[in-house]
């Protein structure tokens, strides 16, 4: 069992005016090396909290989060994070944004430029390398953020609803591009979304979560071969899995209070 990311009995509570709010209630989940996993669930199910823990931005109240068997002690360049709001540094050009992480690695300038150039090319922004973020569309901004994460070559990609704010067409394009890169470089991907279609299309396994308290609800395997194609979206098998995920997300039985 070579779990790349491991959540062991993770609990996260926040103090409230009265009592505590349970964001995550005893979640255990293993993500294998080079696996593509999507996490779906209603809002408030703690899916972003789970991802932030793997990123090292949030600490669990109890339980453990392990990456490569070692507890997560904080954020690090081995785990690339892509945020829904792009989080580009607006005062830096596309190239400088992509080079940000490389500069922190103290690479020689030439190597830095080469790796940044390659990442920018990979996401198709070569013509906009010197543009400031304010001149880019939403889809281009997110592609720049993806290039910034790729450039430092992390083993794990943590994506928090990265395509949530984009229009349908751009979203589909970026999904295909992401799968394309993943099939070449085989990183471990944990991808949060609220879009059932997206969850099924991308993943080998879909993790469905439930809210109040945030917990694991169901794990659904997607037995469709890679590379995934647009035709596959229309196949009966895709429809069946999509249905199953849809029901798991939207027809959840209310939480049973512990006796």
């Amino acid at each position: 069992m070579n779990a790349k990311i491991s959540f062991r009995d993770v609990v996260k509570t926040y103090p409230m005016k009265e009592g505590t709010f349970t964001a995550l209630d005893h979640v255990s989940l293993d993500i294998a090396d080079r696996e593509f996993v999507t996490v779906v669930g209603p809002s408030g199910c703690g899916k972003s909290t789970l991802l932030s823990m793997a990123a090292g931005l949030v600490e669990p109240t109890s339980g453990a989060v392990l990456v490569d068997g070692a507890p997560v002690g904080g954020p690090g360049p081995d785990r690339g994070v892509i945020f829904q709001q792009y989080a580009l540094f607006p005062w830096l050009s596309v190239r400088k944004n992509v080079e940000f992480g490389l500069r922190l690695m103290n690479l020689p300038a030439e190597e830095r430029r080469r790796r940044a150039g390659r990442a920018i090319e990979l996401v198709g922004l070569a013509d906009f390398a010197d543009a400031l973020p304010k001149t880019l569309s939403g889809g281009m901004k997110q592609r720049c953020a993806i290039a910034r994460a790729y450039a430092v070559d992390p083993q794990v990609l943590l994506m928090d609803e990265p395509f949530g704010a984009l229009d349908a067409l751009t979203r589909v394009q970026l999904q295909d591009q992401l799968l394309d890169t993943w099939s070449q470089e085989q990183r471990t991907v944990m991808f949060i979304t609220h879009d059932v279609d997206e969850a099924v299309y991308l993943a080998r396994r879909v993790i469905v979560m439930a809210a109040r308290p945030g917990r694991l609800h169901k794990v659904i395997d997607v037995d469709l071969p890679y590379p995934r194609t647009e035709e596959m979206r229309l196949s009966p098998e895709f429809g069946r899995i999509r249905n199953e995920v849809w029901h798991a997300v939207y027809h959840q039985a209310p939480a049973v209070p512990a006796a």
Partner: protein
């Protein structure tokens, strides 16, 4: 500019193209406003508002004051005071504002003083400054320093507090240390706030200066006007007022230009 041409239909490119045309029209309107203003002034002076000099009289007086060097000496004296006070105030305000924004301890210790002194008009400090610091240059520069410090410190602090958490997280997950986050994220992200604070600071420094000079000075625009008041010399008062206005406007525009250049990356609606 290449990226703008590449994205011909982007909103940024459109605003950039609309810019010069609209400002030409605005400039024309501004000129019309000045001409109307001068006409009203002349009219008021001719129909005889008690002792009011017309524009020509004031222009003649200005020529006189320029020719004998008084205006230049006064302007330089005033500018020197304001620039020294403003620079010292801003130089201290930026690190203090960063400290207050970054460390909760520093904020807890400093905020009561900053908030308290902010509510006192710097002019109200003048009597105290004169008693404690005498009537030389020091109390004047000190009051100007205080005025620009207080307005810059608050906006720098606000800028640091308002830095987008996601940007800080984005830097952290790329492996940035606290030091790097501060230098490469917090400082650039709060630059727009600092520059706005500097503009407000310069405005209040300039306003405070003239008042400080009204009290005890041997030269300076405020002092000149105070002298003119004793001799009922309205023309000189007008020359002083116009010089103060023009210089204030010029300095504000210079800072605005610097602000535009330094924060060109900001998304503007």
């Amino acid at each position: 500019m290449t990226q703008l041409t590449a994205l011909g239909k982007s909103p940024a490119a459109r605003t950039a193209r609309r810019g010069p045309r609209r400002s030409r029209r605005a400039i024309a309107l501004n000129l019309v406003a000045v001409v109307i203003g001068l006409a009203v002034w002349t009219l008021l002076a001719t129909i005889g508002v008690q002792g009011l000099p017309g524009p020509l009289e004031v222009a003649a007086k200005a020529g006189e004051l320029i020719a004998d060097g008084t205006l230049l000496t006064d302007t330089l004296a005033s500018l020197r005071r304001v620039l020294i006070g403003f620079l010292l105030g801003t130089l201290l305000a930026i690190p203090v504002g960063f400290l207050m924004g970054w460390y909760a301890t520093a904020r807890g210790l400093l905020e009561p003083y900053v908030q308290f002194f902010r509510t006192i008009p710097p002019l109200a400090i003048i009597p105290l400054a004169i008693v404690l610091l005498g009537i030389g240059e020091v109390p004047k520069v000190f009051v100007i320093f205080l005025a620009s410090f207080l307005s810059s410190v608050v906006s720098t602090f606000q800028g640091v507090v308002d830095v987008d958490r996601t940007l800080i997280n984005a830097a952290r997950v790329l492996g940035a240390s606290d030091r790097t986050i501060f230098l490469k994220v917090v400082v650039p992200a709060s630059t727009p706030f600092i520059l706005v604070g500097m503009r407000v600071g310069l405005g209040s420094a300039w306003g405070t200066l003239v008042a400080a000079e009204l009290i005890a000075a041997q030269e300076g625009l405020g002092f000149r006007m105070q002298q003119a008041q004793l001799y009922y010399d309205l023309s000189t008062i007008f020359v002083g007022l116009i010089a103060i206005g023009v210089l204030g406007l010029l300095m504000d525009r210079l800072l605005l230009l610097a602000e535009r250049r330094l924060t060109n990356w900001q998304e503007r609606r």
